[in-house]
Amino acid sequence: MWLDRNSSGDKWKVRPDGAEKVTGKLRYLTDMKFPDLLYGRVLRSTVPYARILSIDMSAALRSPGVIAVLTYRNIPGLNGFGISTPDQPVFCEHVVRFEGDAVAAVAATSEEAAEHALQLIQVDYEELPILDTPEASLQEGAPLLHKDGNILHQTDYSRGDLEVGFGQCAYVVEETYLTPRQMHTYLETEGGIFVPEDGKLTVYAPTQHGYKDRMQLSRILDMDEERIRVISSPIGGSFGGKDELNVQPYGALLALHCQKPVKMHYSRWESVVAGLKRHPMKVTMKTGMNIEGELIAHQVTILSDTGAYSTLGGPVLNFATEHAVGPYRIAHVDVKGKAVYTNNGVSGEFRGFGGNQVIFALEGQLDRLAEKMNIDPWELRKKNLRKATDLGPMGQRIVPTNGPEQVWEAIKQSPLWEKREASSDSTKPWIKCGIGVSLAMHGSGLGYGIPDHAGGTIRLNKEGKIEVAFGHEEFGQGLLGTLEILMLDHFGCSKEDIHIIIGDTDLVPPSGSSTASRTTNMVWQALNRLKGPFLEALFSKTSQLTGYPKEALRTGLGGIWAESPHKEKPLKQVITYMQLANGTNDFECTTEFHYPVTPDPIMGGHYLYTSTSVIAEVEVNVLTGMVVVKRIDHTVAAGPVINPMGYLGQIEGGSVMALGFTLTEDAVMSSGKYVTKNLDTYLIPTIFDVPEAHYVKAIDELPEGDPFGPRGVGEVGSVALAPAIVSAIKQATGVWVTELPLKPEMLLQQLPVLEEEIAKTPS
């Protein structure tokens, strides 16, 4: 089914949060105000690596309007944060390790006074020679950025015997691929409000896992988790970037210290310098196949620049290691990865989670091998594609999936498929056209070995509404819409009969993170588990009150309805939800469970996957080296489509993010300092960079008996476009691109001279 409004019928719904968003009425957390508000700011190092000799805050403290200046001395608990390893100091004490490291924070009565105070804090540094590439950090004798050295994490996965494998190969391709330091570029920069009250602290700040923020803040503040309330929705975009703490430690410390509400909201420049980026990776792959075109051996090394601190740099590398093998059958495999600390900005979690980089490389290998053997690259993929019940990429048992085969076949229904083989002549000889295709299988959930809890609560609230509570966040993806659709489906009621609570640790049960393409699947599973006991409770009570047998009862519009013994008669409402609630919150059921996980103990290995294929058409201007994407079609095999508008939006949005990754986006660092400081030089796609022709085909059939339901689609749209564009550029120009984003000047250097051809054109 090509997803659009017409094909979706009544499941194409206006979002519950829509009216507030299009009218500007919605208060994002950074739009909130409190009386007596103070403004918080962070002093950042500005130098990438240095010893701190002294910090003098006296002038800042005397400055008008300044209420507090805090440093490492003012942290009651742990001076560190990081979801996986808390190795990032809240405030640096002896050493700064990157340009954005925090040294102090100020609270003042106005933004201007806070800004002014930052300039009055005198920090003396002794600058140290910096490590601005992973290679430099790995050199013998390099200074150690952390006590355990410069390697955050290493991976080593192998099977078979490479030497034997390559010995059987007739074709071998070896290539190194480089990927950019992509920025999430959520339009709402990091911010929030921190309100201390009666020994408690309420945090209004975007995150993708409220309970995790609460735990991290509790460690820093040395304060019981129960005394911290994290309100984390709505959010103006995240894409993984707000998963880690950002403003929270500073806002919380300042608010508690001053005992007043404190607001923080980063400028774009502060967001660039302090915020996470996608890990730049250098991926080298040597891949070989036999004379029949069967992949035999695959050797991969991944070098990942994790920047100054770890956040989820380790798990991202695990993910990259797994996805470097892809949905292909290969007997002899060796993947070695290193995530290395540098004095660059911190790399961390970002939509695709390490898959984007290695899928670009792996699909590039397949295309190059096909060229060597002179066969159709799509046929080469088919020859080597995994079968439904094959083991996963790292030999782990996975839920059977024929996704890769489905998307392989389905992409042929794109009109670009026919065009792919026809050489399309442009009337302008300096414009060259090409079409490329690629595919990927992308894991959902956090993977083996990482706690990946889920859960939810349902009740009839005292206002007579069926109320659900989930610890997930709405950052734009459409969670509220998905929940509404699921609930209306389950209960046959109207949207006025339901109430949804998310993103507030005082009101929701722990549900795990809103990351890793897991949320739709988790709320789908949770509601399936909750429905039975909840209905049982509702119907028992109704039966008691009305005398109707439980078996005859149904939920419906406004209340409980009963079937009459004569089936042909219409249902009759026997009690309203309001009457049943009788002024109390009741009939509450809660579920807790774990994301489905492979039984095989392979660290980070996934169990549930989504598959996608992408076909893209490009035009390359061989005079300027500029590439324009003319059309993109995706197929996605992710099980049933719950929320078509949300599904389509995830693929379209993820895809265009990948378009930026391929063609324009790079947070350039030079000697440990960001050169691209704002959106004038960091170029995300505008509407002019994106084709209107962009279609998504959803494949909803799952293998028979599959109990896991809808797979995640939050990330998969962003992982397979880059190799398709690169393949299209190759078809158009004969040039293989190995470094992203594509640099027009580098493409030009490699292009054959076309002057003669152009000279022949009639003007």
Binding site: S110, E115, Y125, G476, L648, E652, V656, T686, E692
Partner: protein, 167 residues
């Protein structure tokens, strides 16, 4: 080495008496003459439908209409607003939703929604001036508005629907 920057003395003097019309109502306030319009709207007047994002006129999240034309409020200073008619997202749908807003709702023209007020203001300014705008004209009208969530898919559907040449 020492990082000693001579502090810039900031004197926030709210000595400029500014009068302008905001969403049809007259506003008289004393502000610093160089205070940014985005701060007047969001902070001083607490109308937070206008968003703030890049602060250098590249993203369009802070777009407002000044005498009917789209303008980045982050690049507009208080003194430039004297006597002007300014409209923000809050002024676009006092009673019922504008057809532009309706189109964004029904076509999936937004996700996080943070760029949406700016997008709607840009289109509104254009359609007020040229009610028969073509698809290409509407697209050009959005050239100063960035969206990170949708990939412009839903926004293309919106302008296709609003354009005079939508067939």
């Amino acid at each position: 080495m020492s990082h000693k920057v001579k502090p810039i003395e900031i004197e926030e003097v709210a000595d400029y008496s500014l009068s302008f019309e905001l969403n049809g109502k007259s506003v008289n306030i004393n502000v610093n003459p160089s205070r940014r319009l985005v701060d007047i709207i969001r902070t001083d007047l607490d109308l937070t439908g206008t968003k703030i994002s890049c602060e250098i006129g590249r993203c369009g999240a802070c777009m407002v209409m000044v005498d009917g034309k789209q303008q980045n409020s982050c690049l507009t200073m208080a003194y430039q607003c004297e006597g002007k008619k300014i409209e923000t997202i809050e002024g676009i749908s006092e009673e019922k939703l504008d057809p532009i807003q309706q189109a964004f709702l029904e076509e999936g023209g937004f996700q996080c929604g943070y760029c949406t007020p700016g997008m709607i203001v840009s289109l509104k300014a254009l359609l007020n001036e040229h009610p028969e705008s073509t698809f290409e004209e509407l697209k050009e009208g959005l050239s100063g508005n960035l969206c990170r969530c949708t990939g412009y898919g839903g926004i293309y559907r919106v302008i296709r629907r609003l354009s005079s040449d939508n067939n």
